[in-house]
Symmetry: C2
Subunit: 285 residues, 2 copies
């Protein structure tokens, strides 16, 4: 069955961090509509077991598929790392995670780096415990090139720092430095932001990585790489939702909990006005 062009792209994330992916998608795909689900009643996924992450991911995917989407984008690195293969096998529509596009972008950056500096640097990945433990980035990079090496570092404090709004100052700087140090010492010359929250710390990560390495270290954000891949897929399939020149918007935002600080946190991830928000229940039963 060919995908129905008019349907929205479904995007899910453990919480609101995935809105950074919707932002990147919206910039390259202004004619698409988006249906976003943030599992805010069970966020974060990054500290949970693979079994639990798979169960939660399946629940999120089911809600979006039932509402009607033409493709599923897993914005959460942890959910992508653990669930993308399972969801591809189970669902009758295109499924894209953020790990493969991120690994491709990192591999390109490492190759460019090698051309400039004459040494092939390792790829350093900052991610949640779940993402790093899954080995998904090393696996994805090994399918692109056998000569690229990946080193991973779980960075569990960075998500709470971003959610607290502490993206500047000494506390996030020292935390970023502590997580980057083993990566740079292991020879990482490219850093992957392996979690949707980390782009909000990008400036600090670039500064600290450069200070530790003694030269500029390229920082790769998988949201942009994912958006480029979705753009290719839409263009090749000629399944744009709106005619040229007509802009479509994020049409609905589903959440499983409405925290008191919802608007403040959501606003951190998505520029501009918030779409209509609906709370749904994935957790009782």
């Amino acid at each position: 069955m060919p995908p129905r062009a008019e349907l929205p792209l479904g995007v899910f994330d453990s919480g609101l961090g995935g809105l950074t992916v919707v932002g990147a998608l919206g910039r390259v795909l202004p004619r698409e509509r988006f249906l976003y689900l943030g599992d805010t009643a069970r966020v974060p996924y990054g500290t949970r077991s693979a079994e639990t992450i798979v169960r939660y991911s399946r629940g999120c995917a089911r809600v979006l598929v039932e509402r009607g989407i033409k493709a599923l984008i897993i914005a959460c690195n942890t959910a992508s790392a653990v669930s993308v293969e399972m969801l591809r096998a189970e669902l009758d529509l295109p499924v894209l995670g953020v790990i493969e596009p991120g690994a491709q972008a990192a591999a390109r950056a490492a190759e460019q780096n090698a051309e400039q500096h004459g040494v092939l640097a390792k790829i350093g990945v900052l991610g949640t415990q779940g993402t790093i433990a899954s080995g998904a980035y090393p696996r994805a990079v090994s399918q692109i090139s056998s000569r690229l090496e990946v080193v991973g570092q779980p960075a569990p404090l960075l998500v709470p720092l971003v959610e607290e709004g502490w993206t500047e100052g000494e506390v996030p700087r020292l935390a970023v430095r502590r997580y980057l140090t083993p990566l740079i010492e292991a020879g990482a010359g490219v850093i992957v932001l392996g979690c949707t929250h980390y782009p909000l710390l990008r400036g600090l990560i670039e500064q600290e990585a450069a200070a530790l390495a003694g030269r500029r270290v390229p920082v790769v954000d998988s949201a942009h790489a994912t958006a480029a891949q979705v753009e290719d897929w839409i263009e090749q399939g000629r399944i744009e939702a709106a005619p040229p020149g007509e802009a479509a918007l994020l049409n609905e935002l589903l959440v499983t909990d409405l925290p008191a600080s919802f608007e403040a946190v959501a606003g951190r991830f998505l520029d501009g006005t918030l779409p209509p928000v609906t709370q749904i229940d994935l957790t009782s039963g």
Copy 2:
């Protein structure tokens, strides 16, 4: 129906932090057995809405009651703040949260402080967003004394810092200082550790509070106050589980997820060996 003495005391928490409460209970009640449930698949509760916290608390309580307990202790401050009244109304057994004992201990410390220094200092509460937003501590203190004032400060980064094991060094010190500053500036002369994770930062909190206030600031831990209250209840009811001299142990630990780092994290909260651990499912359905 009188409580059956041989049954364990049921304790639940959003995660493993409540093991600090079990530790305090075990020290004063060596003859009791404990059945602990940590809702690790949905931790943390502190950032969620009251509605969701109530739903999760009811699910935890149901599991423990079905397995057979003689009383329910809500070790989580956030769950206590929001759910204790509802669970007391719904359950046919004694229900104790950590807020009321903590408020009583804080009131005593404030009164002692007033005797020593001649001024009645305010009570400063560090807690999760959910606990502070609920107003449970000011409400509990107002029922003890009308002349005591409470100021609250949400401190969402302290839980992830403890779970990451960063309880010493510059990052936790700066975070603690940042959260304590508005409390001390508002005139707090007693600090309540309003979350089961915070006792692991007690040393830093005492140091930073003293540095900010220019003199020692008493720090109150609700785990000990709660344990004393349970001890009274057991003695008055003569419902000890084991004869004098016989030691009972935490007999089972239930969790809703088994994170990879489970033993490391659990070990941080509970001295000594871990009891048998069983994973249960509260989240699918």
